[in-house]
């Protein structure tokens, strides 16, 4: 009993980490985007195969119509087109650089503090 209590206390004390730990998504729009990404990953294979049947000149048209209906029946969030690359830290939908997944404001903030590796203020 005492040993387990001691261990628990030690673990709680050890969990004070210096880096930022986020336990929530920044906002609901970010959460919805996360859901869309998960579903798109799940249904990726099926969508690929059904589309292979649809975009075809060899198979009969009836089959392709059936495939059309099938793909429309899949959940709407499973299509990858609905994913939008938002800023990872602020969930800003616009002005996001793809390489760093950050919005321009956050990027500038970190770069000025020297926390972006290899980034330097341009001067020429």
């Amino acid at each position: 009993m005492a040993a387990s209590a001691l261990l628990w206390a030690l673990r709680a004390a050890r969990q004070v980490l210096p880096s930022q730990t986020r336990s929530y998504y920044v906002d609901w729009r970010m959460l919805r985007d996360v859901k869309r990404r998960k579903l798109a990953y799940e249904y990726a294979d099926e969508r690929l195969r059904i589309n292979a049947i649809r975009k075809n000149t060899i198979l009969p048209k009836e089959l392709q119509e059936v495939a059309d209906k099938e793909i429309a029946a899949l959940p709407r969030d499973s299509c990858p087109v609905r994913i939008h690359n938002r800023c990872v830290l602020t969930s800003r939908p616009r002005g996001v650089k793809r390489r760093w997944r950050l919005s321009r404001i956050v990027f500038r903030h970190f770069a000025d503090h020297g926390q972006m590796s290899g980034i330097q203020r341009a001067m020429w």
């Binding site: 387990s4 261990l7 030690l10 673990r11 050890r14 294979d45 099926e46 195969r49 292979a52 049947i53 075809n56 060899i58 198979l59 009969p60 009836e62 089959l63 059936v66």
Partner: protein, 332 residues
């Protein structure tokens, strides 16, 4: 052949040949009828050291020929005394062994009684040695150590030995390949831990506890949790950058260098399993648009280096199931 061998021994050839031929004839003659008993004797013989065996064979020769033609055996008198002691021993031998000795001796055409007496003497000596080992349970270490002598070795020899042990093979990357066990520690001052006589100082761990450990059921959830807690509490932060990198490599955060392009991707399948996928098309119709379509699918899969063989087979199976379901639509 045995008689001819024995006749040559009668002429008095050298000691070693006679002893070896005698041993050979013993083993050869009795194999067919009394195999078990002879095997017992044979097994017992293996434990005897060579020095003692030579002593015994010498004694037998002395009894047979009644001559003193041996060279440089200073222990003649002492062996005579030993044989006298052995014969006077009160403890009787195992009756089975006695029967076996008599059986072996009976197979000899000549010198039956002599052979029997010599075999029995040998057995008695062997029993004596095993008794001594049994009685000597608690060994006085002082006696043991006083007998041991330190072997001197020149430093050149020592360094050569150490360098021979640590093999100087180099991997391609310059990393040294070490032999399996670091047994170099056991070779200090020319001694080894494994060679040499056993001192019988330590007792082996009882096998009961080992069996009890093994028959335990699978570790419970509480045991796993406890183990996890201990691991998390005892882990120290890395002392330097190297340890940090080691930790990350073990977790999988850092790749292993030199970078292996196929890390985590190699499923161990040969190239022909990836390319020749026609065998999976058995259940499809051989003519028609579906076959055409599937052949295109297979052509595309064979050029795909990113999927494993299993995934490709699953792909083809999905199509098979799909077309099975849509059969009604296909029959126009």
């Amino acid at each position: 052949s045995t008689s001819s061998v024995l006749s040559t021994t009668k002429d008095g050839s050298t000691a070693s040949t006679e002893s070896t031929t005698k041993v050979a004839s013993e083993d050869g003659a009795v194999e067919t009828p009394k195999q078990k008993l002879l095997k017992m004797i044979g097994n017992m013989k293996v434990e005897v050291t060579t020095k003692r065996k030579f002593q015994q064979l010498k004694e037998q020769e002395i009894k047979k020929q009644d001559t003193n033609k041996q060279e440089g055996w200073d222990r003649e008198s002492s062996t005579f005394q030993n044989t006298a002691e052995d014969i006077q021993r009160s403890e009787p031998l195992n009756p089975e062994l006695v029967r076996a000795a008599s059986a072996v001796a009976s197979s000899f055409p000549h010198r039956r009684e002599q052979a029997e007496s010599e075999l029995l003497a040998q057995l008695r000596r062997h029993e004596e040695t095993t008794d001594k080992q049994r009685r000597g349970g608690i060994i006085n270490i002082r006696n043991v150590i006083s007998e041991m002598a330190v072997k001197k070795q020149s430093p050149a020899q020592r360094s050569m030995r150490v360098s021979n042990l640590m093999s100087l093979e180099m991997d391609e990357d310059g990393r040294r390949i070490k032999p399996g066990k670091p047994s170099s520690h056991s070779f200090d001052s020319g001694r080894s831990l494994k060679a040499g006589r056993r001192l019988n100082i330590f007792t082996k761990a009882s096998p009961e506890t080992e069996n009890a450990m093994r028959t335990e059921s699978l570790p419970t959830i509480w045991d796993l949790e406890f183990a996890k807690e201990i691991a998390t509490v005892t882990e120290q932060p890395p002392r330097n950058g190297f340890e940090e990198m080691i930790q990350w490599t073990e977790e999988g955060i850092l790749w292993e260098f030199p970078i292996d392009n196929e890390a985590g991707m190699d499923d161990g399948a040969e190239f022909h399993e990836h390319i020749f996928l026609e065998k999976h098309l058995k259940d499809f119709p051989k003519q028609g648009p579906i076959r055409h379509f599937m052949e295109l699918v297979i052509c595309g899969l064979s050029k795909n280096p990113y999927l494993s063989v299993k995934q490709k087979i699953e792909h083809i199976e999905w199509f098979r199931n799909y077309f099975e379901e849509k059969k009604e639509f296909l029959q126009e």
